[in-house]
């Protein structure tokens, strides 16, 4: 590989890494044509993990890190003094294809700083996607970052080539957006999200290809003073209105050459991880956002215990729950029982009566679950009422980033 290209790749990968998403899921099973290249799988594949524990699935790069915008939290803002570079369309295509052939990646996640105009930038990104699909018969995964300031017809085109589209909200409130990202505007972001949502739904019904893996977004946590409860309320809205496939949370992390208005701290990784857990409760465990907000202190999630446990500790009167009797909805609320474990319990108990050792085979979270459940040969008795229950259940800060 050419030395100059290598150098650009380093700059433009470094500039793209603050986007938490690298997922290659949701495009369904697609296979290469006779003379084509690439496939997709339902849940995607992580081809490597970096020492921050994050998955490397896609070639995640910016087309360029030159940018006319001036978002305070971003390393690429026009007032930062970082090294700049720009790929040509062909360079991105070559890198994607050659990396793909060597099985390094699932596909491409292309984003870009704004150069010349939002439309021009978006058009360049579309050219990359079109070239991959048309000239190389590329059937691997393509995730395009949509530029909400671009003309609406470019969004209409983008979904025809991409498997996933995303626009990062970045800041959970309109005020923060105004203060920290002066060129951006909440209304046009939501407008573009709504447009993508509509097209994605229509195409699904019509069995056509338009961003089949849906849309996602990201919010930065810790760059402003929004509470967890408000972050989650924003997420709930995004899931509800635009059927987001995922909302990513990205702990605001030090960047080289930072802006004066955003002093640097260590990234709040535990907070990020708790937000992911709470987010899962919203999507897969039937929790309402206000239930989680109520069990948080002053709107902030408990950093020592996971949000489900925090909720259960404040709602002890609803427990213990009998694994052999309780409704699925209630089992989902037992700390330490994941959705999969609950499904297995519900299926197994149709044929047998579950004892504690049976439950132990179905979940790895038995320690957390024990005070809250009843099995055929087990009752927690007074355990639930102990004052020090929370302290006893605090996990060692180890399983961090399970969700990130």
């Amino acid at each position: 590989m050419d030395e100059k290209l290598s150098r650009k790749l380093r700059i433009l990968a470094d500039a793209a890494k603050y986007d938490a998403s690298c997922s290659s899921s949701g495009a369904g099973g697609r296979k290469a044509d006779i003379d084509g290249l690439g496939s997709t799988t339902a849940s995607g594949i992580c081809h490597a993990y970096t020492p921050d524990g994050r998955c490397v699935s896609l070639l995640k790069i910016l087309l360029t890190n030159y940018c006319l915008f001036d978002c305070a939290y971003c390393v690429n803002r026009r007032t930062s003094n970082v090294k700049r570079a720009k790929f040509s369309v062909d360079e991105v295509v070559t890198l994607t294809i050659e990396f793909y052939k060597r099985n390094y990646i699932e596909g491409l996640f292309l984003s870009s700083g704004i150069i010349r105009s939002p439309d021009y930038t978006m058009e360049q990104m579309l050219l990359v996607a079109k070239k991959l699909r048309r000239e190389h018969g590329f059937r691997g995964y393509i995730h395009l970052k949509t530029i909400p300031e671009a003309s609406p017809w470019l969004i209409e085109e983008a979904g025809l080539w991409a498997d996933r589209l995303s626009i990062n909200l970045e800041l959970p409130t309109e005020q923060s957006l105004e203060r920290l990202a002066p060129e951006k505007d909440g209304a046009s972001i939501e407008g573009a999200m709504a447009q993508m949502f509509e097209r994605i739904e229509e195409a699904r019904e019509e069995r056509r290809h338009f961003s089949p893996a849906g849309q996602t977004t990201q919010m930065i946590v810790g760059a402003d003073d929004t509470t967890d409860a408000d972050v989650l309320r924003t997420s709930a809205k995004l899931y509800g209105h635009y059927a987001m496939k995922r909302v990513y949370y990205s702990a605001f992390s030090p960047i080289p050459d930072s802006s004066a208005i955003l002093p640097l701290k260590s990234p709040p990784l535990m907070r990020e991880s708790r937000l992911y857990q709470a987010d899962w409760l919203l999507r897969y465990y039937g929790f309402q956002v206000e239930e989680i907000a109520e069990s948080a202190e002053k709107g902030m999630l408990d950093l020592d215990v996971d949000p489900k446990l925090a909720w259960a500790l404040k709602n002890r009167h609803l427990f213990p729950v009998d694994v052999n009797q309780a409704e699925r909805e209630m089992l989902l609320r037992v700390p330490g029982l994941g959705a999969r474990a609950v499904d297995k319990i519900v299926m197994a108990r149709r044929h047998t009566t579950l004892r504690l050792e049976d439950v132990a085979r179905l979940t790895s979270g038995l320690k957390r679950a024990k005070p809250f459940l009843i099995a055929a040969d087990y009752h927690p008795n007074k355990k639930l009422d102990r004052q020090d229950l929370r302290e006893r259940l605090i996990e060692k800060p180890q399983q961090l980033s399970l969700f990130a």
Binding site: K31, A32, D33, I45, G53, Y104, D119, E206, R361
Partner: protein, 480 residues
């Protein structure tokens, strides 16, 4: 009762296991009487009757689980699987639903291990280009934990169908030559190429996406255990990345915020927001460049007419003739429209005619190209262009010809029959009528004539509306 010895082939011997199960079930031999062993090339059971045992039908979920678990490297796998089969066929048909059962649990764990191994193989195989002269050939060395070579093959074929590749492992090898898959003997690491010209770049990529402020090697090792590292070119960077991480973060945090070294690019910033097309020509150039958003079409067919036309007629999409000539409303329906316009005194050359969808969507049937109706989603893909087009023409009146045009103008599907007549399309005064092709499709002459009369009436009202004095804001005709 004596023990029966059953010997299967080393590796994932699904066929052997199937045959054994048939025979054992036919003989009604319970698991405790069987001893399972493995051999390089077993003489089967030394008993040819085995082949003739009748087939055994198992629930699909059990069969699938067996396929997975025979790949496991645990020598006990066949014994465990036979226990499962025995219980399922002896009264416990739904055994798999009891995930808490110790046997089911153990077999589930085995299947999970195999699936994980497969998944890791999909993830961690690294192809290197072979030093072949002309042909592009790739090869990889991989060390799986279980006997998954055959099970993994479909994934690699589906993905790299057009490439010539070989995967070498200590338990066997496989080569895909873009047509056929062949399995070969076990290989050694040295059989694979020892470098590739893209690895350096890939390592650079890997290093660059690492965020030192989030260092968490435990999480990394959970997903990418050390045993895989020696075959992954990027992992050479790991120790260095971890070692320097905290220092890199400290230096970022200590650094004072810098002043931008360049002046604010005022001119570029201003120009940035000036991106909208300002003429129909500019808009049409954008549409042409985008290419069709529907299947079919040889070229985009743009709107046609004076830049400041009073009336805009919006049709559905270009047809066969329009697609060939690159002009709207020149086919049979267009001719009918032109004739009707002339009859009521609308000068076609003074009106602006366009379509909701700018490309001809069709199905190819032999030599014929059959019009295919654009879906709702497809019409909406074209909608932003249509809106921009209207903005540039700024007509007094917009006429929707047919349901597709109506959908494009309003964004909602409504039947024509219910909304025919005067309408409002956003900022534009509008009128809704049928598409002329509808008139052509009517079966008998009488209805045709009647429908044509109604169409002429609509056109007359359209004519009046466009002529009316708009300054008063009064509609010349009452809405129905």
């Amino acid at each position: 009762m004596s023990l029966h010895l059953i010997t299967l082939k080393n590796g994932a011997d699904l066929d052997g296991f199937r045959r054994a199960v048939r025979w054992l079930m036919a003989e009604e031999l319970a698991p405790q009487h069987i001893l399972w062993s493995l051999d390089e090339a077993p003489g089967l059971f030394g008993d040819d009757d085995l082949h003739d045992a009748p087939p055994v039908t198992l629930p699909k979920s059990v069969a699938r689980l067996i396929e997975m678990c025979v790949c496991h490297s645990d020598p006990e796998r066949y014994a465990l699987l036979y226990q499962l089969v025995w219980r399922v066929l002896n009264g416990e048909r739904d055994l798999l639903e009891i995930a808490s059962d110790p046997l089911v649990h153990r077999i589930d764990m085995m299947a999970r291990a195999v699936r994980r191994d497969l998944h890791k193989m999909y993830a961690f195989v690294r192809f290197r280009r072979m030093r072949t002269e002309h042909l592009e050939r790739f090869a990889a060395w991989f060390e799986p934990d279980h006997f998954i070579l055959e099970a993994a093959a479909p994934f690699f074929i589906d993905r790299f169908r057009s490439l010539d590749w070989t995967i070498l492992t200590p338990i066997g090898s496989m080569r895909w030559d873009r047509r056929d898959l062949t399995f070969g003997p076990p290989a050694r690491r040295e059989d694979a190429p020892d470098e590739d010209s893209f690895e350096e770049g890939w390592r650079g990529y890997y290093e660059s996406v690492f965020n030192p402020a989030r260092v968490n090697p435990t999480a990394m090792r959970a997903e990418m255990p050390k045993k895989y590292w020696r075959n992954l070119p990027e992992t050479a960077a790991i120790p260095g990345l971890i070692q320097t991480a905290s220092q890199r973060v400290d230096s970022m945090m200590e650094q004072e915020a810098t002043m931008p070294s360049k002046r604010t690019p005022e001119r570029a910033l201003e120009a940035m927001w000036d991106q909208e097309p300002k003429t129909l020509e500019e808009l049409n150039a954008i549409i042409a460049k985008a290419g069709p958003l529907v299947p079919g079409a040889t070229q985009a067919v743009f709107g046609e007419g004076p830049k400041r036309a009073e009336i805009v007629f919006v049709g559905e999409q270009p047809g066969d003739q329009e697609d060939l000539q690159g002009r709207p409303f020149v086919g049979p329906a267009g001719k009918l429209l032109t004739k009707a316009m002339a009859e009521v005194g609308i000068d076609r050359s003074k009106a602006y005619l366009t379509n909701a969808v700018k490309h001809f969507k069709f199905d190819q049937r032999g030599h014929r190209r059959i019009h295919a109706k654009p879906t709702t989603g497809e019409v909406k893909h074209y909608r932003p262009w249509l809106m921009k087009e209207l903005e540039l023409v700024r007509p007094r009146l917009v006429v929707a010809l047919g349901a597709t045009a109506l959908l494009a103008l309003t964004g909602k599907s409504t039947p024509i029959s219910r909304s025919r007549g005067i309408a409002q399309f956003g900022p534009y005064r509008g009128y809704i009528t049928v598409h002329p092709s509808y008139l052509l499709r009517l079966p008998d002459e009488a209805t045709k004539r009647e429908a044509y009369e109604a169409f002429l009436n609509d056109l007359r009202r359209i004519h009046d509306l466009a002529e009316a004095d708009l300054d008063t804001g009064e509609l010349p005709l009452a809405a129905e």
